[in-house]
């Protein structure tokens, strides 16, 4: 029997039918959705990177690492860079499975992806979306701050850097703070810079010095969202204020 006849008989015998248009549409949509997801995740990574760079507290490099270059390498958001590269490859893989995606070379995909994520990431950054997502990741995991140098530096009490959540206020100059590792600190304020950030439940950054095992003297208090981030209304401590960046003293919030 002729080959085509055999195939037709098999089709009839096994009651085969072409997949429906809807099934085909669904299959195509899945790959497009995954490509779009890769683009959005990449944009979030870019917006968090922008935020990290803009709020890197550059005036504290000597305290944190002792050298500017070490500080640059220390605060660089490697984790998000890794996510970014991973999602470029994912976008390329998904795009290859779309209708005409295979016509794009990897280099073309990288260029399109980088340009799109930088633009979209810039928009996310302006909207405070990236930082908001980063905060929720940090709040719901116990390890995230170990991956990000700009967060890890605020668990360095011996270098005079401490950050966390205000858990209790005794009076204007004494409060209790829980750091990102979950350790409780008794903080005594010895200056007046940034005392307005000491609000119950707010996250803050403190520059000062450690004394005793769990006591810290605060010389300066900064908003958790950092310089340039205060106007984004993403951290409770900054919601009431606008950023004022002072030369040498980092930034604070003004009414």
């Amino acid at each position: 029997m002729e080959l085509s006849q055999q195939v037709l008989e098999k089709i009839e015998k096994e009651n085969m039918h072409p997949s429906s248009r809807y099934a085909v549409f669904l299959k195509r949509s899945i790959f497009w959705s995954l490509t779009a997801t890769a683009l959005v995740v990449g944009s979030i990574a870019v917006s968090i990177t922008f935020f990290s760079i803009a709020n890197a507290e550059w005036d504290l490099w000597s305290r944190a690492t002792g050298s500017v270059w070490k500080y640059v390498f220390f605060i660089f958001p490697y984790f998000w860079l890794l996510i970014f590269v991973g999602f470029i490859l994912l976008a390329h893989y998904n795009l290859r499975h779309t209708k005409y995606g295979y016509r794009f070379t990897l280099s073309k995909v990288i260029i399109i992806y980088v340009v799109s994520t930088v633009v979209l990431g810039g928009v996310f950054y302006r909207l405070g979306l990236g930082h908001m997502i980063e905060e929720s990741i940090a709040d719901s995991t116990s390890f995230y701050h170990h991956l990000q140098g700009d967060r890890m530096m605020w668990v360095m009490p011996d270098q005079g850097l401490l950050g966390g959540k205000v858990e209790g206020i005794d009076d204007l100059y004494n409060f209790i703070l829980t750091d990102q590792d979950g350790r409780r600190w008794q903080v005594a304020v010895s200056g007046t810079i940034g005392v307005e950030y000491t609000v119950l439940g707010a996250k803050i950054k403190i520059i000062g010095e450690r004394f005793g095992t769990s006591s810290f003297r605060a010389v300066e208090i900064r908003s958790w969202c950092g310089c340039g981030g205060c106007d984004q209304q993403v951290a409770p401590a900054c919601a009431h204020a606008t950023a004022t960046c002072g030369a040498g003293s980092g930034c604070g919030c003004g009414e």
Partner: protein, 188 residues
């Protein structure tokens, strides 16, 4: 519709009709059977019966996915792609290195003065070329078979192999260089 009328219709029209009526698909199958069987054999070196099994499976896959056929592409490219993938997956199942068989007409195509032959050793014969193609990595063998034996355009090759057109050019050029090197090194 009379069979004679179907025979003269374009592939794309037959695809639309096949979705509604499976018998029409028979016209498309007959139209490409010879070419595709030769392609499977060129690509894999399999016996005719095995090549027919692969083609049968490919036709069923094509039939089941008729709604996935994009009318902006050539139907032949789409069908070649399915057959290509099916042949490759059969190789991998068998875990055996395929060996290319050049038919008389294939040898004539290569000898007929195209650019590949000009770059090859003038004393090259068919057996040597078969051996040399056998030694090529899979991607280069695909490129050589499609370009010189199936006589596909770059655009068609891009659609069959699902690669960017610019990559196809590079692939062919590298395949030719590799083939030359093999011929020189092994005196294949």
């Amino acid at each position: 519709m009379p069979n004679g009328q179907l025979e003269t219709m374009a592939d794309e029209e037959l695809v639309s009709l096949s979705i509604k009526k499976s018998e029409v698909f028979g016209v498309l199958m007959r139209r490409y059977q010879g070419r595709l069987l030769a392609y499977i054999r060129r690509l894999s070196g399999l016996r005719s019966e095995d090549a027919e099994d692969i083609l049968q499976e490919s036709y069923i896959k094509a039939y089941l996915n008729l709604n996935d056929f994009d009318r902006k592409l050539k139907f032949s490219s789409w069908l070649y792609r399915i057959v290509h993938n099916e042949t490759i997956s059969e190789w991998r199942k068998r875990k055996a290195r395929p060996s290319v068989i050049l038919e008389n007409e294939d040898w004539e195509k290569i000898k007929s003065g195209d650019d590949m032959h000009n770059e090859m050793n003038a004393r090259m014969d068919r057996a040597r070329l078969e051996k040399a193609i056998d030694r090529l990595p899979e991607k280069y063998r695909d490129a050589i078979v499609l370009k010189y034996l199936e006589e596909r355009t770059y655009e068609e090759m891009a659609d069959i192999l699902r690669k960017p057109a610019s990559t196809i050019g590079t692939l062919i050029s590298r395949a030719k260089k590799r083939l030359n090197k093999i011929l020189k090194t092994y005196g294949a």
